[in-house]
């Protein structure tokens, strides 16, 4: 059974390879292959989940037969697939959402000249993402981590002839690389300290002796977090995600909403045992004494959530709004991890995957209907033109805002609850973010779907074909109901084996949030109501955004995303570009010019000077000869 997991992993790769090598010319066949592979993976994952679920817990996961990738000295890297509730849940999400998006793409991308290439990329991505999920050790995770980045690069830059897309792809990859730099150092640090890269061995060592990491525990934890920071686009590495919306919309849905960006959060949950180690800092960082890694993570997550939510208020591109919303929700999840709550984080990750994929696909449906118009102020009144899209989009919005009984309510509530237990500041922040979320989402809905038709394209819009609508409908189901499936409890059980509770029944499940943390539930609900009211007040039937008139400075700052891109550009040109310029100058003029050109040059000059002796005059020669003899005589006889 457990070795079938290899099949789950490799089916998509297989399809990617076949498409790349053989079926590139046959677009339909390529698409079918790719879809077939991911659907097959989904079914196998389901089977494994059902077959193994009961027998597993988070500490004693099963492992499929490993494959020794590298073994040199005390570095032993065995690629194996770790099967435990966490990874099984995640592969279901990845293959499930992935399968729907594959199918949706079949309609969305039809007619594109790069159809086969697109599906090859999608399959490659699925492979890489599954690899991250199933990885049993850090090196393997890093390998797939990079591969995910690469496939994201390919897909974001899918329309490579558009400069914006090409630049966005580059930016995404490079920003991720910054995070990976820390991640890799973290991995090496852990390996150097504990001598292993395997999750289960590391976990065992740290749980047995929390002080085993010594002074490196906090640094190591934060370095590992750097990886998550890049992939999950946390401040200050968040800048790539909005730009990545230049990719095709299904890609945005799959990679930049549901799965890849969640990888960071998943990874943090996967290695959460690291943060159980006794916090300590090396002497050089002793001023940080008293701060532990989790706090840093929580505040970075919270900050990202707030920052993104604020920026989202003033975005006008439908995909960018969703992108910032994704950022904000990712911040939420990271904050949850930081609040010692991996299970709420995972819970929110799961529900978010459903409703954000739904939202993106809905946005994609709109965009394709409007012939790639993305400005919400040029939409309006789409409710009647695209009823199914509208309905499902609205469901997604409600789920995102966290209105009961939509799934988002439950997961968000879990996070709020965690915050309320640990930190007042973060709790307030989380509530604020929840309110802002409702505000900008309803701003979107009001402007784009309700109100009057604002443009020519919108007037001629039609509902999307069935192949695109079906996935929307399917995704709408978990968006609505996932909160009632016991995912939260399932996770809680696995992360906190001590707090085993009976599986609750449906009604209990429904009202559970009010039961165990009423404050969080009420505040969450209140935030939704406030947010909605503001949105309604400002944007119901609005044709123009009122905020820029009232707060011009604020709006400008928000539209320009607080000038992060500009600042970074300056920073890079001040550091790397300047150093590169200096190095190049040094290379060109000092090493290659002065030293390398100079030495032979002066030698040649010397030669030219020397041969001036050869005047051609016999007597000069005689003179030189005699002088030479005289010198030798003098040297030998009077030394």
């Amino acid at each position: 059974m457990k070795d079938f997991a290899w099949l789950v992993l490799f089916l998509p790769l297989f399809s990617a390879v076949i498409i790349a090598l053989f079926t590139r010319r046959d677009a339909q066949l390529s698409a079918q292959l790719s879809i077939g592979a991911v659907v097959a993976s989904l079914f196998i994952s389901g089977a494994i989940f059902i077959g193994l679920q009961g027998s597993l817990d988070l500490v004693k996961g099963l492992e499929s037969t490993p494959f020794t990738w590298l073994r040199v000295g005390d570095l032993d890297v065995q690629f194996g697939l770790r099967l435990d509730p966490l990874s099984l849940l995640m592969i279901l999400i990845v293959t499930g959402v992935g399968a729907l998006i594959h199918i949706y793409s079949y309609g969305y991308m039809s007619g594109d000249p790069g159809f086969s290439r697109y599906f090859a990329g999608l399959s490659l991505f699925t492979f890489a993402m599954l690899g991250i999920v199933l990885a049993n050790n850090f090196v393997m995770m890093f390998v797939f981590w990079e591969l995910v980045g690469f496939s994201s690069y390919l897909l974001v830059g899918f329309w490579y002839e558009r400069p914006a897309a090409a630049d966005a792809a580059k930016k995404a990859f490079l920003t991720n690389r910054l995070g990976d730099f820390g991640f890799l150092l973290g991995i090496i640090l852990l390996w150097a300290t504990l001598g292993s890269v395997r999750f289960d061995q590391l976990q065992g060592m740290i749980l047995k002796n929390p002080g085993v990491l010594g002074i490196w525990s906090s640094v190591g934890g934060l370095l590992i977090f750097c990886g998550a920071m890049g992939k999950s686009a946390q401040f200050p590495l968040h800048v790539w995600l909005p730009d990545a919306m230049e990719g095709p919309t299904p890609v945005s849905a799959l990679i930049h909403a549901a799965t890849m960006v969640a990888a960071g959060v998943y990874m943090l949950c996967r290695v959460f045992f690291l943060y159980a180690a006794t916090p300590a800092w090396p002497p050089a960082f002793s001023f940080l004494q008293g701060i532990n890694a989790l706090q840093v993570i929580a505040w970075i997550g919270g900050g990202t959530a707030l920052l993104a939510a604020v920026i989202a208020i003033q975005q006008n591109d439908i995909k960018r709004i969703l992108a910032y919303s994704t950022l904000s929700q990712l911040g939420y999840m990271v904050m949850a991890v930081g609040l010692n709550g991996p299970s709420p984080a995972m819970y929110h990750l799961v529900t978010h995957a459903f409703f954000k994929a739904l939202l993106f696909l809905g946005a994609g449906s709109v965009i394709s209907a409007l012939h790639h118009e993305q400005d919400i102020w040029k939409m309006g009144g789409l409710r009647s033109k695209m009823p199914w899209t509208y309905r499902t989009f609205l469901m997604g919005t409600l789920a995102l805002c966290g209105l009961p009984p939509f799934s988002g309510f439950f997961s968000k509530d879990a996070i709020l609850a965690a915050a309320s237990q640990h930190s007042v500041g973060l709790f307030v922040l989380a509530a604020l973010v929840a309110m802002l979320t409702t505000f900008y989402m309803f701003r979107l809905v009001f402007v784009a779907f309700l109100g009057k038709t604002n443009s020519e394209a919108t007037a001629h819009a039609h509902e999307s074909p069935r192949v695109m609508i079906t996935p929307l409908l399917i995704l709408a189901v978990p968006s609505l109901l996932a909160g009632l499936w016991g995912i939260g409890a399932f996770l809680e059980r696995n992360f906190n084996p001590q707090a085993t509770s009976e599986s609750p029944n449906l009604m209990e499940e429904m009202f559970a949030p009010f039961g165990h943390s009423p404050l969080a539930a009420v505040v969450g609900l209140g935030a939704v109501i406030f947010g909605f009211s503001f949105a309604y007040a400002l944007y119901a039937n609005a044709v123009k955004d009122p905020i820029p008139q009232r707060f011009p400075a604020l709006a400008r700052a928000l539209r320009n995303r607080f000038y992060f891109d500009e600042i970074y550009e300056k920073l890079i040109s001040l550091t790397h570009e300047a150093v590169a310029r200096l190095a190049d100058w040094f290379d060109r003029w000092i090493i290659a010019g002065f030293a390398i050109r100079g030495i032979p040059g002066s030698v040649e000059l010397f030669g030219r000077a020397l041969r001036l002796i050869q005047t051609g005059n016999l007597q000069t020669y005689a003179f030189v000869f005699v002088l030479g003899v005289a010198v030798v005589l003098y040297a030998v006889l009077h030394h």
Binding site: V143, F150, H576
Partner: protein, 518 residues
């Protein structure tokens, strides 16, 4: 015997080519391709027949050559050079494949190409210092001539002059070092045989003064040959001017000679010299990785960029050597092999683009991916392999080097990781962005993608990169036992007075040799 075939097949083919009239163009090409192809198959056979896990030399052959001086024709392979030989043979075949771009003096070109191939393979297979050097020079001269005659660009003459003088200096310094090494043996037992030398110096330590004198000679002699910072400027310049096949063979294979020499000769024979010089090497290799990475960021010419990046990659090997532990040295050897494939691939690509467009100035290009989907895809793969994407062999090697380096040279490992992950990615992606992405330029409407035959060398090289990227153990398992022996010698500072003690493990890295892991 097999190794001898591998070395001499190209050389004999070169001789045979001399007899073919130059009008028979296809004949010349077929002979060159055939010879390199068979060489490649033989090298593959050698690789497959090599017994993994054994530490000593295999397929040894010794023929006395100049007895009075103690020179033997002695060839053999162990884990360190088996991969290099395979890589060299594959790259040679690929280089012969891409040489369709040559139109004038075809015959001479292929003769030189074959001589270079034979020299390269001989240099890596030789277990005798003299032949080691001899074959290297044999390969070096064709390089100079090829760049001079078939090179390109307005800098051609200067580049030829530059690379010739630079490499000659490096080679001669090395030669002096090797001779000095040889003279350290007692007069009656002098031999250039590496096995004999290691055997002797295992039991009798070289005087410290000699080590401190010879080690830097070898370090800098070899260093110049491998473009160690700050002796690196010949590389981008020379490769920028070189014809494709030459750049592939030199940057890919021949350049590794110096690194191979350091690992094979300098480290094990002169542990004390190594101890005092490796710290400096660590600094210099940061010059390679970081500084040359930065320089590469500023290049607008694709060949100069690849050249600088190849210099930067050499830094990882140097770092691996400087770290002096099993993981890093194994990684260094792996990087050598991987970078061989990669450099050959990169230069083949740039050669193709140059042949099609007549320029390598990246600002002239835009959106070429539309015109040349295959070449473009391979270029993307090469770029990502160059910035250490998993799946390609480079990643495995660099990973090992970084892991190993962390043990002994932490700050350098951090800088190297920065160079590998960030700087490398910056310039590689910029290149891809400028050349392939962006709106398609009408100027290049005539540019054609490779046809099936011309795809072959690219496919071959990518396949090799991927194969060793997926299964690096094919190499590491072979490298390990040999690297262990070298490290044992390199980390044993003073040999014990009694033979009995010498048998005991002396360093942390000692593991029973000859035991394979699986």
């Amino acid at each position: 015997m097999l190794i001898t075939f591998i070395i001499f097949l190209p050389l004999l083919a070169a001789l045979f080519l001399l007899l073919v009239p130059r009008e028979v163009r296809w004949g010349i090409r077929v002979i060159a391709l055939g010879a390199t192809f068979i060489t490649m198959l033989l090298a593959l056979l050698l690789f497959l027949k090599f017994q993994t896990g054994l530490a000593g030399y295999q397929f040894e052959l010794t023929v006395p050559w100049v007895r009075s001086v103690g020179i033997n024709y002695h060839v053999g392979v162990d884990g360190i050079n088996i991969g290099l030989i395979l890589m060299g043979a594959v790259v040679a075949f690929a280089a012969a494949c891409v040489s369709w771009e040559i139109t004038n003096y075809e015959k001479e070109f292929y003769v030189l190409l074959l001589v270079m191939t034979g020299g390269i393979l001989g240099a890596f297979a030789s277990l005798d210092l003299f032949f080691f050097y001899f074959f290297h020079e044999l390969a070096l001269v064709p390089t100079f001539i090829m760049i001079g005659v078939w090179g390109r660009g307005e800098n051609k003459n200067y580049a030829t002059f530059n690379i010739t003088l630079y490499l000659s200096v490096g080679a001669l310094i090395t030669l002096i070092g090797l001779i000095a090494l040889y003279l350290q043996m007692p007069a009656n037992a002098r031999s250039f045989d590496i096995v004999a030398l290691s055997g002797y110096f295992k039991g009798n330590s070289m005087p410290a003064s000699a080590q401190h004198f010879i080690f830097p000679l070898l370090l800098f002699g070899f260093g110049i040959l491998v473009s160690l910072w700050p002796f690196h400027t010949w590389a981008p310049l020379g490769y920028g001017a070189a014809p494709t096949a030459t750049a592939m063979l030199h940057a890919g294979v021949l350049k590794k000679f110096g690194l191979y020499g350091l690992i094979r000769i300098a480290l094990p024979l002169m542990p004390q010299g190594a101890r005092s010089w490796l710290g400096i090497l660590a600094w210099l290799c940061i010059g390679n990785i970081v500084y040359c990475g930065f320089v590469a960021m500023r290049q607008r010419n694709l060949n100069l960029l690849i050249g600088n990046s190849s210099v930067a990659h050499m830094g990882f090997v140097f770092l691996g050597i400087a770290s002096l532990n099993l993981i890093s040295v194994t990684g260094a050897v792996l990087v050598m092999v991987a970078h061989g494939f990669l450099a050959a691939l990169s230069f083949a690509l740039s050669g193709y683009l140059y042949q099609q467009t007549g320029t390598l100035n990246m600002d002239q290009f835009s959106g070429l991916l539309r015109r040349v989907p295959f070449i473009g895809t391979v270029l993307i793969m090469a770029a990502f392999a160059g910035c250490g994407l998993p799946g390609f062999a480079n990643f495995a090697g660099e990973l090992l080097v970084l892991f190993g380096a962390w043990k002994t040279l932490q700050p350098f490992a951090i800088l190297a990781a920065w160079g590998a992950l960030i700087i490398g990615a910056v310039y590689m992606l910029r290149a891809v962005r400028t050349i392939l992405h962006g709106p398609a330029d009408e100027r290049w409407a005539e540019v054609k993608d490779a046809n099936l035959w011309r795809k072959a060398p690219f496919a071959l090289l990518v396949a090799c990169l991927l194969a060793f990227g997926f299964w690096p153990r094919w190499l590491t398992e072979k490298i390990k036992p040999s690297a262990e022996i070298i490290l044992n010698m390199a980390t044993t500072l003073t040999p014990p007075p009694l033979k009995t003690v010498a048998l005991e493990p002396l360093s942390l890295n000692t593991r029973p040799s000859g035991v394979s892991d699986r």
